[in-house]
């Protein structure tokens, strides 16, 4: 997540070199502080107690100490070892920290416009501000998808810029809206049902849109792969329609958490899983772009549309890069899910349908990585692999909840 700052001198000072490194470590310290607070703060962790703890004096002390310690350690280290100046990783990640911080600030501003506590009720949640923000996010993503598709027909035109801006807008509205939903869950039943907004299908879907768009935007920024946007954002747009349908059948409400989900593991396991899912989605977008470009090369070799597409090699590489982002994240998420299961269900692996499908997805992408190394497999096979791999992924996070029963059935539609 990079905020574009026009002045290069300012930007380089803030986003590069020592300053970026110190800020990066301060963010890491902040995260460590938040983890420490969950594990050791107050009288043990409760799901509804965590957010109030975060914004209480105790939270400020834990997070502040973490950030200051992290930053200070980095300063001390760079005084001792002045020759260790730059870290590419820090420079890349620090802007992500900034982006999330901006979302938190936006969320804090949004809370000021929230209807008063007496005006909201658990039974009728339609007047919450997040509902309006979700609508704005949906519009932004749909508009962006349309712009990206138009871009295929008119390469180099201004719609590319508009598509990019609205995509970022959607991401920031979506991210801050999810944070706002976390806050909103405390408005009912005296705060007893407060929980992070990753507890049902509706909420994780919006997480999915934002993550998929962010990952794609990274590729756009680094590799100018704009034509891919038409495919990735079309997937997001399809998701938006599904999300609207979910809301229309009453799945959009903030509901209390079942006891099995009341654990800090939820906040780690679910988002990490969705990093994996969304990266696989982006890989699918790249794969589709590859297949379309290949078709265009044969059938319309002189068309303007072809100019909009990155080269086949580049698309293949971007699909692989997306899988390379998603696969370790998905692996780690599955392992952490196993760790949670070991703590809540009595075993790290139960061959529950969701677990098994996660394994299937994992096997499919593991096979993809093997196939890619294997000589003699061409780009088209790999492109089809990413597309069908994503279909398997979609079944894993959607189909399993809708059609199969098991321990993960709290994601089920009712």
């Amino acid at each position: 997540m990079t905020t574009t700052i026009q002045s290069p001198a300012m930007a380089s000072l803030w986003f590069q070199g020592k300053v970026a490194l110190v800020r990066y470590w301060a963010y890491l310290g902040l995260l460590t502080g938040a983890t420490g607070l969950a594990l050791f703060g107050g009288d043990g962790y409760t799901e509804s107690g965590y957010l109030p703890m975060l914004i209480s004096m105790q939270g400020v002390i834990w997070l502040g100490t973490g950030a200051v310690l992290g930053g200070a350690l980095c300063v001390v280290y760079s005084i001792i070892r002045p020759e260790q100046g730059r870290s590419v990783l820090a420079e890349r990640l620090v802007s992500w920290g900034d982006g999330i911080l901006l979302m938190v600030v936006m969320m804090a501003i949004f809370t000021l416009f929230e209807p008063s506590a007496s005006a909201v009720s658990y039974e009728d949640q339609s007047n919450l501000l997040s509902i309006k923000l979700i609508m704005a996010m949906n519009m932004a993503f749909l508009f962006s998808a349309i712009c990206y598709i138009l871009l295929l027909f008119a390469p180099d035109s201004f719609v590319g810029r508009m598509a990019n801006i609205t995509a970022w807008l959607g991401v920031y509205i979506g991210g801050s809206m999810l944070l706002l939903r976390w806050y909103e869950s405390y408005l009912f039943m005296d705060g007893s049902i407060g929980h992070a907004p990753v507890s049902n299908l509706y909420e994780v879907f919006m997480l999915l849109f934002c993550m998929m768009t962010i990952i794609y935007l990274q590729w756009e920024k680094r590799y100018q792969a704009q034509a891919m946007g038409a495919f990735v954002l079309s997937l997001v747009a399809a998701g938006v329609f599904f999300e609207i349908w979910l809301a229309s059948v009453g799945q959009a409400d903030i509901k209390p958490l079942v006891p099995a989900l009341q654990s800090y593991w939820m906040k780690i396991h679910v988002p990490l899983n969705f990093v994996g899912y969304s990266a696989f989605g982006v890989a699918c977008g790249a794969g589709m772009a590859y297949l379309v470009r290949e078709w265009l090369e044969v059938h319309k070799p002189n068309g303007t549309m072809l100019r909009a597409f990155p080269s086949l090699e580049q698309l293949d590489e971007l699909a692989y890069k997306s899988v390379a982002v998603g696969f370790p994240a998905f692996t780690l998420a599955t392992i952490l899910g196993a760790a949670w299961a070991a703590e809540a269900w009595g075993g790290y692996w139960s061959w529950d349908p969701k677990e098994t499908w996660a394994l299937i997805v994992w096997l499919v992408y593991a096979a993809y990585l093997h196939v890619r190394v294997q000589h003699g497999w061409e780009g088209r096979t790999l492109a089809w692999w990413t597309v069908s791999g994503f279909l398997v992924t979609v079944f894993c996070f959607l189909g399993v909840n809708m059609y199969l029963s098991g321990l993960h059935s709290y994601g089920q539609l009712s």
Binding site: P256, Y348, T356, L359, A367, H370
Partner: protein, 569 residues
């Protein structure tokens, strides 16, 4: 001898080969699908009913009902282990050798095949200053040099760990599979139901198509089980207070909730489920013959009560202390209300259709308006088919029952054609029950009694059973597990994630520099390759080239002769 070793080499090559690995991964994925579509470890009767005898027999003989523990699935996993082992066996020595010997010398032929390359002809510069310059530019690279005749070879490596990532990932998978095997062979996992106030020491678990039992070396007593609710009636917490008794001594007392198990002697005790532990319940049997007789029936959940007089039996199946329902009409704002305790039972009797009944202790109230007692009846015996029947009178008030019976008695004596007779009969009944002091709410009561006359006489049973009182007792459903393989799995998992990150994010990049005297000047040639991430490396190489050009500009003799290969994408 040589033929045998040749044969074994073929085997090793096949078993550790990439096509086999890909095939195994795909086959394993496909096989795993079966067990998710076909629900595992259900009761055999359910399967028989669902599939019919032929398919049931076929599926059962293939072990489809406990698929992940069948010999063929385990064989597949075994194959994966063998394939991984041979793959490591074949590749590890090669990789280690490659990492150890980093050959500095590169033949001109090999050099010319490298995609990214560039060369410069330089004057007034020493070979040392050139190599120092690049070493300075790329500080975190490892450098080696070798002098051959008048030519200086310099090799730089970055990200040599990449190959170790490969080893880490594949051995991690092996470790995880071994951990899983340890868990299955030396661990156990089973269920234990403990009724409040009692203790248990055995666990049961599914074993193929049957049930296995295992005794624990200690006893678990459930002192109390409790459920907390959210205001909308959803459960917010299941909590068991347990005492562990080891050889007659109470060694440990603790609360457990979901997500916070108890640990004793290598066994973890989890909160898994709960249910009725045989609550004491009292019913009142209201005789429907107009006599107004009421009898008491005391029994327990899971017991069958037999009424001696009529021969009717009631099999008590469940008791629920709360029934929170959404009382709002469809499409309206939800309105959750607790309808109070209920009892489920199946009524059977000669000449009667067996039906499932849910009887409520309290009368049904809507908007603070007493609508009389209700009862849910399901003729199929399925809870989904429960239909509520408004009984009219409120059975928790004995006067209403008395009034109803008095009214029925009066009504029989009147002429059915006389329209005002009902009114007269009701007035007489009122006087019979209440005397001169009519209660304030007698009009509402009248409505309920009138409704009851429409419903109660049509009931198929000689009496109406209504829940009267209860003494609730839960059982807590615990899961006990010991898993000696778990830590092995965690070690493997950590190794897996680390290895993946190394393998996917670190690319092994190599640079070769050759410095060779040419026409009284120095010819510097540079070439670079990366084993992955060509897009990034392409960019990186070109950045390096432009930096080098800046450094070398004072010494350049001519325009750099860009070799055609460096133009590639």
């Amino acid at each position: 001898m040589s033929q045998r070793s040749h044969f074994s080499r073929i085997i090793i090559n096949r078993l550790g080969s990439m096509p086999l690995a890909i095939t195994l991964l795909v086959v394993l994925a496909l096989a795993s699908v079966i067990g998710t579509v076909l629900q595992q470890n259900q009761s055999q009767q359910d399967y028989l009913q669902q599939f019919g005898p032929l398919w049931y027999w076929l599926f059962r003989s293939l072990g489809m009902f406990d698929m992940y523990h069948t010999w063929w699935f385990l064989t597949l996993l075994g194959f994966l282990m063998v394939s991984l082992s041979f793959c490591l066996w074949r590749n590890v020595p090669r990789i280690l050798k490659q990492t150890r010997t980093r050959k500095v010398y590169i033949s001109d032929r090999a050099f010319s095949h490298i995609t990214h390359q560039q060369s410069w002809l330089l004057r007034d510069v020493s070979a040392e200053s050139l190599t120092d310059n690049i070493k300075n530019r790329l500080k975190d690279w490892e450098w080696r040099s070798e002098q051959r005749g008048d030519t200086l070879y310099l090799r730089g490596d970055n990200g040599r760990k990449h190959k170790l990532g490969y080893i880490a990932v594949h051995s991690a998978m092996l470790v995880i599979l071994i951990g899983g095997w340890l868990s299955v062979h030396f661990g156990f996992r089973g269920d234990m139901s403990v009724v409040e106030g009692t203790s248990e020491h055995g666990i049961s678990f599914t074993e193929g198509t049957g049930v296995g039992h295992l005794d624990m070396p200690f006893e678990v007593r459930c002192n109390e089980f409790s459920i907390d609710f959210y205001p909308n009636g959803m459960p917010s917490e299941f909590r068991s207070n347990l005492t562990v008794i080891d050889q007659g001594k109470e060694v440990l007392t603790s609360d457990i909730i979901v997500n916070e198990p108890l640990y004793y002697k290598g066994v973890r005790i989890y909160q898994a489920s709960f249910g009725d532990g045989g609550s004491d319940v009292k019913l009142k049997l209201y005789k429907l013959d107009g006599s107004g007789t009421v009898r008491d029936a005391s029994t327990q959940v899971y017991q069958t009560y037999k009424d001696e007089e009529t021969g009717i039996t009631m099999e008590i199946t469940d008791f629920r202390p709360h029934n929170v329902e959404n009382m709002a009409e469809a499409g309206h704002v939800k309105d959750f209300q607790d309808m109070g305790p209920s009892l489920d039972f199946i009524i059977r009797g000669e000449g009667l259709k067996p039906v499932k009944v849910r009887s409520f202790l309290n009368a049904f109230e809507l908007n603070d308006d007493n609508r009389g007692s209700i009862m849910m009846i399901s003729t199929t015996g399925d809870k989904q088919d429960f239909q509520s029947v408004a009984l009219g009178i409120d059975f928790s008030d004995p006067q209403e029952w008395a009034l109803y019976n008095a009214f029925i008695r009066e009504l029989i004596q009147t002429d059915p054609n006389d329209k005002s007779a009902k009114m007269v009969a009701f007035k007489a009944a009122m006087t019979e029950v209440f005397g001169d002091k009519r209660p304030d709410n007698f009009q509402a009561m009248a409505v309920r009694v009138l409704q009851a006359t429409q419903v109660l006489p049509r009931m198929p049973w000689p009496f109406l059973p209504v829940l009267e009182d209860y003494e609730q007792k839960y059982y807590t459903g615990l899961q006990l597990a010991r898993d000696p393989g778990m830590n092995v799995v965690w070690i493997g998992s950590a190794l897996l994630v680390m290895g993946l990150c190394i393998m996917l994010y670190i690319s092994h990049r190599k640079l070769w520099l050759i410095v060779r005297p040419e026409q009284g000047a120095l010819r510097l040639s540079m070439a670079g390759i990366s084993n992955r991430n060509p897009l990034n490396f392409n960019r990186e190489f070109h950045t390096l080239l432009s930096q080098m050009e800046d450094d070398l500009r004072p010494h350049l003799t001519a325009v750099p002769n860009a070799s055609p290969q460096s133009e590639s994408k």
